[in-house]
Symmetry: C2
Subunit: 448 residues, 2 copies
């Protein structure tokens, strides 16, 4: 069993970063207190306010009492909300009636999250490796509900996939056709679709040229697959992760259209279009909803990919992004020669927050034990390791922070849990479930 599978299958307690997580579990009889709902987004208030900043109750940043669950959470922790991921998934299904929605495993393969999604009627999964397939088989999802969209696969992974009933594979090179053909049964050929390159305007991570081909090559590859005994069924694209510009999907479909048309003229009966991922989650600014993205896509589908009977989607971040928050503990505060006050926390770049240097900016909610005067403080947030790369972002807190305070980092559900290491000996985030801990992600607003 490889390490991924080991990790995925370990009971939560075994992955805890404290010697006795169970001992730390909050007593069920303590009623959860929700003292932080009343904090306004701009707690300092307008400058023309009649109320000067004092330490009266009205101008204090509210305390979170010592018996609140949040103080019992071992840090760093990810508080997971599988049902929120399931709700997001269903919203995408509703926005695209008739489409096959496959959850992109790479964004967060936590067993309880994929289990919640697997229970949804019609839910599929997009996989990229043997271990991702194994994780799904382990929770009872069969290969018939998976498609393999990684265009460059390891031969052993193809063999495993075929053996477990996967039928749909992306590809974008001759070398991949050769690999797939090795495991093909001409009597019941594998269905394959070509990944195309499209423009990525509006995506936080343009996918560069790592994957995808242009129209002429796409058609050549469809023929090549046909000649090799595979069954070419369609085309795929990916607009890039966290795409906030709806028209990028429209542009992409227009770029795909010539290949679709050429293929049909060549007698290749394509019926599958994989619209990929890119569905955004809300970090700080507004992002388009699945229904809004669906609206623009729907208008051009008939024109760009006529006869596309099967429409595939691969949302990841848009499903799991807001399905987890990270709880961190302040471990140090220091003024620095650069004029900034640095705030050190026990999770950072190596705890899974590797996307932050590239522009992801989660909102933050400070949690303090005792009420303190409101007042803006600017901090340069940094992780616990000695690595200079391990810095996060600048934040303005409505309250002065000290060692022992907690920070709730919102929207830590995607590309965090599965990307952490214990570099420098620091604990990887332990995953907790909001229900078990009587914590609710919606209690934390991310006010700064």
């Amino acid at each position: 069993m490889n390490e991924t599978a080991q990790r995925m299958r370990l009971p939560r307690a075994a992955r805890s970063n404290t010697p006795s997580t169970s001992a730390l579990k909050p007593i069920k009889s303590i009623k959860p207190i929700k003292p932080i709902k009343a904090i306004p987004v701009n707690p300092v208030g307008p400058t023309d306010t009649a109320y000067p900043l004092t330490t009266t109750a009205f101008s204090d940043y509210p305390a979170t009492p010592a018996n609140h669950s949040i103080w019992h959470v071992p840090t760093p922790a990810l508080i997971l909300s599988p049902h929120r991921a399931a709700d997001n998934f269903k919203a995408i299904q509703r926005a695209f009636p008739g489409a096959t929605v496959g959850y992109a495993m790479k964004s967060n393969p936590h067993p309880s999250l994929i289990t919640a999604i697997a229970r949804i009627d019609g839910a599929w999964f997009e996989v990229a490796s043997k271990a991702e397939i194994q994780a799904l088989l382990a929770i009872g999802v069969t290969g018939e509900r998976m498609f393999f969209s990684n265009p460059v696969k390891q031969p052993a992974h193809i063999e495993f996939a075929v053996r477990h009933g996967l039928r749909l594979f992306a590809y974008d090179s001759d070398s991949e056709v050769e690999k797939l053909a090795q495991f093909n049964d001409p009597a019941r050929p594998l269905e394959v679709y070509v990944r195309m390159t499209v423009s990525h305007q509006g995506a936080l991570w343009p996918l560069t040229h790592k994957f995808g081909v242009e129209p002429r090559q796409a058609v050549e590859l469809l023929h090549r697959a046909d000649q090799s005994g595979l069954k070419p069924v369609g085309l795929a694209f990916h607009v890039g992760s966290q795409c906030v510009r709806r028209d990028t999907w429209v542009d992409a479909l227009r770029e795909v259209a010539p290949a679709w048309k050429m293929a049909h003229e060549d007698g290749l009966a394509l019926d599958l279009i994989d619209l990929g991922g890119g569905f955004p989650t809300r970090y700080t600014g507004d992002v388009p909803k699945p229904s809004q993205i669906a609206d623009v896509i729907r208008r051009v589908m008939g024109e760009c990919v006529p006869g596309a009977r099967r429409v595939f989607l691969e949302p990841g971040r848009g499903v799991c992004g807001d399905a987890a928050d990270m709880v961190l503990q302040v471990t140090g505060v220091a003024p620095r020669p650069d004029g900034q006050t640095w705030l050190y926390v026990d999770g950072g770049y190596f705890s899974g927050l590797y996307e932050i240097p590239d522009g992801i900016r989660p909102s933050v909610q400070p949690i303090v034990r005792e009420a303190r005067p409101l007042g803006m403080h600017t901090y340069r947030l940094a992780g616990p390791t000695c690595d200079s790369l391990d810095t996060l972002f600048e934040m303005r807190s409505p309250v002065e922070l000290v060692v022992g305070d907690r920070l709730v980092l919102k929207t830590a559900g995607a590309y965090v849990h599965n990307v952490s290491s214990s570099f420098n000996g620091f604990d990887q985030p332990v995953v907790l479930h909001e229900d078990e801990w009587m914590l609710h992600l919606s209690d934390f607003h991310g006010i700064c």
Copy 2:
């Protein structure tokens, strides 16, 4: 037990990325074959050569026979050479006679590597966290041979360190003095030294302003520690990782000198200077040797830090950098619309090669099963995941590469093993030992 400690203590076989590593172990009776020593650095030769490129034996890139150990290595793998790390460590000790050399655990905490170093007379360790201390205690190293140079520590880690006999702690803020004072026994005070900020010219990773203070604040912090019952003993700095400019250490000492002088004038009897890390390893270009760095430092020590009876060093990369190579397998080759040919391998950014986008460029040795014509091919190397961040570098190979070939990435000993994740379900590198596998790092030259 936290996950770090779990990882560190697991027997190698349990971390293997293949179902049966032991079954794959090469049969001891096979004599290792060393067919690749003869490859010149520029195998194509000068353009005025009289020998055109043909498939004759002289113009072929040599095959590595099927019974060579390299073909039995599960990929991705790190082939570790603990004795090479030990040799590098001893070279630094020899270059700095009388100094206390502490191996920076963060650079590679593999048990067999730290065990080899722990056996060296006078070897110390630089730690930054509880888990790093635990890993050392597990191999029999006591706290008396460790110093804690992370300037911002977690209170629980300080408590653990003090309880296990650590006496020396770096700091650089008031908040850290408060934390350390909590665990201090005034009858036998902890020895503390202030981390200063210095210029980082010539270092691949300038350490920014995450840690360190300027002279005036350094002296204030020394007094502050003194008033809190701690024993201020010295100053520390770090020139930044992979520092190839020797004079940067000289510049740093000159920046530290005013604080050292002020402290002595104030009656603080400092006797410890921690020169930090920064010792480079050889990736592709030449780098200064420890003895060359020592030469320039020695000339200014008396002038900058007179009376520094204790000199501390914290080498990491300079010890373990060339003590491991990574073996990767080619999993795909594809021409792309950007005009480049992309070469996909089964390890990448998420397998621990996270420093490559920042400028680390290891050299590479292609390994092929059958002799092939020599000829330059340019490849854009990419890792196995679907993430666009997971691309490595452009390389020029003296032979065309196909699926199934191996690449040996040289100098993968530092900041790789301990920074990998199984993102997207891809195996983390398994660590093998060169002796057990009858592979020798020196067999692989890194020709491109």
